[in-house]
Subunit: 311 residues, 4 copies
């Protein structure tokens, strides 16, 4: 389908359900997609960080995009992450996910290598030149260890290289610079500015963002869709209450014991445990080398769901 300019609304980074032996569980994945679509989300982002894209083999990545794109059949846009270290490797993923049906690609700065703003800009220009679909920049310093500079993003938006930004930097001040720049600069049109935050979606929409890409929307899509609607209606008081309910629910990402596992094991393990407890996916396994949650930790996830009215 044609990618909206700008893309707006709730765009969950879709979790990738796995079987016990760590293959993609396609029926569970499509069940999750149905759950998200029923929740009213506006687009789907597969192969993002919350999708464990960094853990999926190339064939698994392709299978995810093919399955989801075929399943939604153009009902709503499917964005696909093409997470890899540098331009040539990203370009191979672009070819793969667009052949599989992705409507847009989501691209980070180079990582592993030492990089530079000039090289980041060159990276995006080369990818946009080769991509048959729009390119969305993915600003995720916690993963790639550089921050996309706001002026570089705006310049690439003006050049038509970028169709949007997914900002997972946590830096709302820099995010605002892009939002305001995209709205006020006459040489930029149709550029979509999306927050990756779970916790300040109301703030981001209030200052002019186009939408949100919250990992927690896997667990509670209805909540984020309600929040988005309340913000668009200018009902800030009820939006804040909904956001605070979601903030409380987000506490589940910390159930994992930090002396025993890293933040990714805990957060992605909790998302999957919640989806499993809610009956949406068949198996809560996360990819290797992540450490699984203990039964007591899963029980805590259940308490968060109960408090949020989701069990």
């Amino acid at each position: 389908m044609t990618f909206p300019a700008p893309l707006t609304g709730v765009v969950p980074p879709v979790c990738t359900p796995l079987t016990p032996d760590r293959e993609v569980d396609v029926p569970s994945l499509l069940g999750l997609v149905d759950h998200l679509v029923a929740g009213g989300v506006h687009a789907l982002f597969v192969l993002g960080s919350s999708s464990e894209a960094a853990y999926l083999r190339d064939g698994q990545r392709r299978l995810v995009v093919e399955s989801v794109a075929a399943h939604v059949g153009g009902q709503l846009p499917v964005l696909a992450g093409v997470i890899d270290m540098t331009t040539p490797r990203v370009l191979d993923h672009v070819a793969s996910v667009t052949a599989a049906g992705a409507d847009a690609v989501v691209v980070t700065a180079p990582f592993y290598t030492r990089t530079h703003p000039a090289e980041i800009a060159r990276h995006f220009r080369l990818i946009a030149a080769a991509s048959p679909v729009p390119v969305v920049a993915y600003d995720i310093p916690v993963a790639v260890h550089t921050k996309l500079p706001s002026d570089v993003v705006l310049e690439l938006a003006a050049e038509g290289v970028l169709a949007g930004l997914k900002d997972s930097s946590g830096d709302l001040s820099a995010f605002r610079e892009v939002v305001t720049g995209a709205r006020t600069r006459s040489d930029i049109t149709g550029f979509s500015v999306l927050t990756g935050s779970e916790l300040v979606v109301d703030s981001a929409l209030a200052l002019g963002a186009d939408g949100a890409v919250p990992g927690l929307a896997n667990v509670d899509p209805h909540g984020y869709v309600r929040l988005d609607r309340l913000c668009r209606d200018g009902d800030w008081e009820r939006a804040r209450a909904e956001q605070e309910r979601l903030c409380a629910l987000f506490g589940l990402v910390s159930v994992g014991d930090a002396t025993r596992m890293g933040g990714s094991s805990s957060a992605l393990g909790a998302f999957k445990a919640a989806l499993h407890l809610r009956g949406i996916i068949d198996c809560p396994a996360t990819a290797e080398p992540q450490v699984p949650l203990s039964p007591a930790e899963v029980e805590q996830v259940g308490k968060y769901l109960a408090t949020a009215g989701l069990l």
Copy 2:
């Protein structure tokens, strides 16, 4: 060939010459290998950071290993990097490079994702369990943003998971802990501790390291082989003089203008410019999105070579 236990000596991380359109230049690669072998190096490490592995597509990586392994035909060990984000993706590279003839694989900690010492240990154990060849750990915090803890490395050495360590952390104190531990612990045998430093190879060998993996050995393999020999002979005064000559030569990695490019563009660009000026490779191109050196910067590389007696 059988991987030595421990591997010792000079193990250059072999640069990957590219054609002007950024394909692997196999004749230049084999010419470079001949130059290194003629220089007396003790093993070859392909697909490391200095090889631009982070920039090579999967097919290019396979071509490099196949070409080099076939060319050296068991004369000396070929180690291959399998640089990727997480266990499942690394395992695919392990399958590929060992099918192509690699004698050992070189594995970093997980990156892009948030990780944890327990997950790092799990990562190495899973890879070693699946690998048909020995596993060498690659400690490179500047790229993966975690440091391999010395106690984890020693424990994995004792378990037989790891056959060696390539330490590019720059932290000689932590390196010494592994060197001394590997020598004194009765449950560790044949473990190879290699420094990734260009500048303190004499120091590393003096405190008991088994060898070195210096990127600059692409440019001057004879120098590093002489240095290794002088250290093994206990001729520390002449070793220091040779090391200082190499330190001066290493200044070439900084010729690139830091307002225009990152450290990788400058250092890898300078290595390739030097190989091109010395007539060893046909084209000094680096992979995208790295920024090329200017003619004036290349000229400076030439001056470093001249001062070091290499032109």
Copy 3:
């Protein structure tokens, strides 16, 4: 005067005007205070980071507090920073600034030394036990290189150790955790949660913050007081417009050439240049070893003021 519980509104971190030979220019300081009071601010924060407290000798610090406290004579609360590395040194500053008339002290985590959440909590407890006035925590990771954990802040609030938080971390999600915790926990009352941001004051107030401590309020106190008022009135549309005007003005902090000076020289130099251009202080000098702005850079500051309607 009695410190309000909670403190609310606009609390500028008051710049410290210097003479050309880098002594405190008391008449200019009091003129600046008059300008801020006339602008309608709700309290004053002296000896913060924007006050160049890190650059002021002990005698200069004492002179600042004495002068300002005597001048405002209890009209509005005066908070004083007591920025130093560890508990014993901070306690000496607490004694000094409270003798000089401060109504509250503002305390960072320990810095220079390697620290730990348990030591941070101990630090605040010891200081609160010895301080005759309320203690406000100052979360400024860019300066002290640790982030105050939200759960530690809330626990210390519940214990009565802390009277408030000034959050200059830039992390609005963590800030919200404190705001919501302080409002909903029954064991916390009168705790003041203040953002140190210049750029998302509307967002912070919308999610429930008590006030703001924006360095830019030195230059445009009326703007921030208007913004605060609009937010309290729930007039979010006009609040956003005022905030965006202030965001544009904030661009002045980047006039300094980054190849020639650091971020502090540029930002504090620009604040002082603006105050000088507006006729509020006599001399724009910043403390050593900061690098002064060039005439061309000062001219750019003037353009920002003109655009914002302040010249």
Copy 4:
């Protein structure tokens, strides 16, 4: 006394013994100094990081310098740290410690504030211009969060601004650049390059360093003096054995439980516990807000001492 050009040998950063109520225990301090002098050290460095200078009030700092300078009475040079955030504050400490008898001052880069190489150079120039005694640069990125660039250090050495460098960066490659530069540049004479490492003193001396400033020399000065002597005699084999014995002893810095305290509490607590167990100081208390070692942790310190032959 006249400061040697260059200063060479073992220069312990002298611990500051405290009484149970955290005042400077002058008799214990002088006992420690006697222990160090009896061990054969070549100079004393008071008010460094291992001296808990960051925790000492100004009066305590002055008392330390006065007591030690009077006690040694010119027998050997006394260097004093002047650790503070910026130029004006450091200059006050310079006045204080030189009045108290210091023969040289040891100065870090600015911290707390955001800084820049140009500002760091300006900082050292201003301090040297005002100091009646030589200035030694103190490179300690773990504390001040910037690294002193080698080229800046060498330039300031050539200008006569700096008399030496104490390098606690852990980066032996950069250290070597200064060592080699100081030896080979004709515009630099008498410049002293000292490593702050405990663990690679043999390496540092082998590559040409003038001496070492190891915190562990408080506990075992004889060991470091033997090590220094063996290195100067070119007896590298026995030097390495002595260094490895000291490396094993250094393990005591990690006895503190990392879930309960930070690295400073553990390392400085262990140094003081060791001095107390050896009968050199009266009380092992560390300054606030550091967390004390438990009895079990102190017992472990004792085991390290026993293994090293020091009990």
